[in-house]
């Protein structure tokens, strides 16, 4: 028909996505497909996309979703399975990513960029204090290092960690700590196990570490706030998303794989912002074509070639080929650490946990459970509650939600 097709794309307002709007101008030129961007804050995006999708869709042709939603939404039939041509080279996508975005072997969302978590610290400070942080170090050692570099009078805090309540904020980090202590969200029957000894030990450790060696107001800090603090030189150490490394402007940053307390599995998380096609759209074909382009090697190259961006700004974490590129390695000192972290993350269900996901459980009820627990954890962190009380309340809340949801 004479009309140019138009796609409405809901994106989370992160840097890579914003940049995509410019890179995709070329796509529009080439294919004639008009692109309408709706960029939203994560929470609002999730709410909008959920309400649109749950009520039959139709507002968006392409949506940004995360690893938590992809498998469940795929299972529920809210989003369409994605199958691309050979050129797409699906095997180039990192296996952990594919696993996390698939349900029963079918990929429902294509990763735009992905991340794991790792330790970022100021080598100058640790050196000065005479301590070291190794890959997969022990938590005790990490705490000792934090104590050694903690110097609040001069505005340097030993450890900056997420404390802001939210299943994707403090709970992302806390879950990795719990995992590394050998805990999990649910047992095989999906009964919450928050009142387990592993959780208790992990939370005590977390509160102790961040409470004593963290900056004031940690219960309000998440990725954004800590990034700003770090760039202001206020953080000695930061354990967070690998993507942070590309934003750091402070000298002397060093990386280490996430520490653990005996169980390295799940000590670092796995996350991807992916693109999916909601079931209600009328432009499924065009949408899939766009996703195929936007998550391809070709796209990475296009960003690298774009006059405003270059290799330093390409989306990472999704494709092995990107890490293999020498130009990329040259500008991304964190590349190998990031790749290692992503590759070591294991989202699949295991004997220890029945659910898919590292720092979350890919079940529809998880956001509700996660937010409830997140608030308890923030309360424990700021001392409004004891750790034991917070854990007991979390267990009760999670139990009520899971019971309500008909798990048992």
């Amino acid at each position: 028909d004479g009309h140019a097709k138009s796609l409405t794309i809901a994106i989370v307002n992160n840097g890579h996505m914003i940049n995509m709007q410019k890179v995709a101008e070329a796509y529009t030129e080439e294919t004639g497909v008009q692109l309408e961007w709706v960029s939203l804050e994560e929470g609002v995006l999730r709410e909008q996309v959920t309400s649109d999708t749950a009520t039959g869709g139709g507002q968006y042709d392409i949506i940004n979703i995360g690893m938590q939603e992809a498998p469940i939404w795929g299972a529920a039939g809210w989003i369409e399975p994605l199958e691309f041509g050979a050129e797409y080279d699906v095997d180039d996508i990192l296996p952990a990513m594919r696993a996390g975005l698939s349900h029963e072997g079918t990929m429902y969302a294509a990763p735009f960029y992905g991340e794991s978590s790792m330790v970022m610290y100021r080598k100058d400070l640790t050196d000065a204090a005479g301590v070291t942080i190794a890959d997969n170090d022990s938590w005790d050692n990490v705490k000792a290092a934090a104590a050694a570099i903690h110097d609040p009078d001069n505005g340097v805090y030993g450890a900056c960690l997420r404390g802001k309540p939210g299943w994707g904020d403090n709970m992302a980090f806390i879950t990795t700590v719990v995992n590394s202590f050998g805990g999990a969200w649910f047992d095989a029957d999906y009964k919450p196990t928050i009142d387990s000894d592993e959780w208790r030990a992990a939370i005590n450790f977390y509160v102790d570490l961040l409470g004593n060696y963290g900056p004031p107001g940690s219960e309000g800090n998440s990725f954004n706030e800590i990034l700003a603090l770090y760039n202001e030189g206020k953080c000695g150490m930061w354990i967070d998303a690998t993507i942070a490394a590309s934003f750091l402007e402070v000298d002397g940053v060093a990386y280490a794989q996430s520490p653990n307390a005996g169980n390295p599995v799940g000590a670092n998380w796995l996350w991807a912002w992916a693109m999916a096609v909601p079931a209600g759209t009328e432009n499924a074909e065009e949408a899939k074509a766009f996703i195929e382009w936007a998550t391809s090697k070709e796209y990475v190259q296009a960003v690298a070639d774009h006059p405003e961006f270059g290799w330093a700004k390409v989306p990472t974490g999704q494709r092995a080929s990107t890490y293999a590129n020498a130009d990329f390695q040259a500008v991304a000192g964190f590349a190998s650490a990031e790749l290692a972290a992503i590759e070591s993350a294991a989202p699949e269900a295991t004997d220890l946990k029945p659910y898919v996901g590292v720092q979350f459980a890919a079940i529809p009820e998880f956001p509700e459970v996660g937010s409830a627990v997140a608030q308890e954890m923030a309360a424990a962190l700021s001392g409004a509650k004891s750790v034991d009380d917070a854990i007991a309340a979390s267990q009760d809340a999670a139990d009520a939600i899971m019971r309500e949801a008909g798990y048992y």
Binding site: W78, G217, A378, G406
Partner: protein
């Protein structure tokens, strides 16, 4: 006159529109509140479409009542609404009296003062919690850091150093913590709505009867007595109106709560509904019905208070 029916006719569009606006969503909410309805469930896919076969009676209400945050949300929202009302009214009266008489630059001061009222709630929250109240990066952090710096350098000063070493270092307050997040919301909303109160009180002060004041002067009333016995009573109606309008708006605070602490330590029923609405629409709807009931209780209370004012 034959056009006795006309008045009713003229009211009809407004009444019918509002009736539709209220009844249809409310009816659906009521319906959802009595059935099992979740957006997504791997275990019980049959719950994901609203249908009478998922009838649950008062189960959703039961669930909501048992929620650990339910009573807290009600109590907390009353606390924040009352605090905001208290502060805005007090500040509003004081400021209105302060700027009511003419002084150099009165117009400019008035413009400066009422500006916060025009700011969007989300902007307000982001502005305050990040750029002003943040204990490290915000103005608070900067100010505390600055003051501590000054104290430290004074402690090292010869002669008076001993005196300043008795001074403690200031600790910045985290306004996102469980204990304090409600205060942050109270502060920012008070900042935004005090101008509204000032506007209304100022308007009312302009209609204050000067002869009454002169009579009071002759009766020997001091400035304070004039304020206490004349101005305050004169302001009682506008105060009632400010309370009423603000209560309407503040019972449904949302963006501020979300942005400050994501409901940590500070919640109201609308926010609780939002949390349930992640997945459990049945529970969200039941909470909605509770919220409607609460709103109406407050409304009845408020309307009692100002109902007479309204019709006089």
């Amino acid at each position: 006159m034959s056009d006795r029916k006309l008045p009713r006719l003229l009211q009809t569009p407004a009444v019918v529109l509002l009736l539709i606006w209220m009844l249809i969503p409310l009816g659906m909410t009521l319906y959802f509140s009595f059935i099992r309805y979740v957006l997504n469930s791997l275990r019980r896919p049959e719950w994901t479409s609203p249908s009478l076969s998922n009838w649950r009676g008062f189960g959703n209400y039961q669930f909501v009542l048992n929620n650990k945050d339910f009573l807290f949300a009600i109590q907390n929202s009353l606390v924040i609404v009352c605090s905001i009302l208290f502060l805005t009214v007090i500040l509003g009266v004081l400021i209105a009296v302060l700027i009511n008489k003419s002084f150099p630059g009165q117009g400019i001061v008035r413009v400066l003062l009422i500006s916060p009222f025009f700011v969007m709630p989300a902007v307000n929250a982001v502005l305050w919690i990040n750029m002003i109240l943040d204990p490290v990066l915000g103005l608070q952090g900067l100010a505390v850091g600055g003051i501590n710096g000054v104290i430290t350098s004074l402690q090292n000063a010869p002669g008076v150093g001993w005196f300043f070493s008795l001074w403690p270092q200031l600790e910045p307050i985290s306004f996102r913590a469980t204990q304090t997040s409600a205060y942050a919301v109270i502060i920012m909303v008070t900042w935004q709505w005090t101008p509204f109160a000032v506007l209304i009180f100022m308007t009312s002060l302009q209609s204050e009867d000067q002869q009454q004041k002169e009579a009071a002067v002759l009766d020997g009333a001091s400035t304070w007595s004039q304020f206490r016995f004349l101005t305050l009573p004169h302001l009682s109606r506008p105060i009632a109106i400010v309370v009423m309008i603000q209560a309407i708006f503040h019972l449904s605070l949302y963006a501020e709560i979300e942005i400050v602490s994501r409901g940590n330590g500070n919640k109201n029923l609308p926010y609780l509904i939002g949390e349930f609405a992640n997945n459990n629409i049945g529970a969200a709807s039941a909470t909605g019905i509770f919220a409607v009931i609460l709103a109406n209780i407050v409304a009845i209370f408020l309307l009692r208070m100002i109902g007479k004012t309204l019709m006089e």
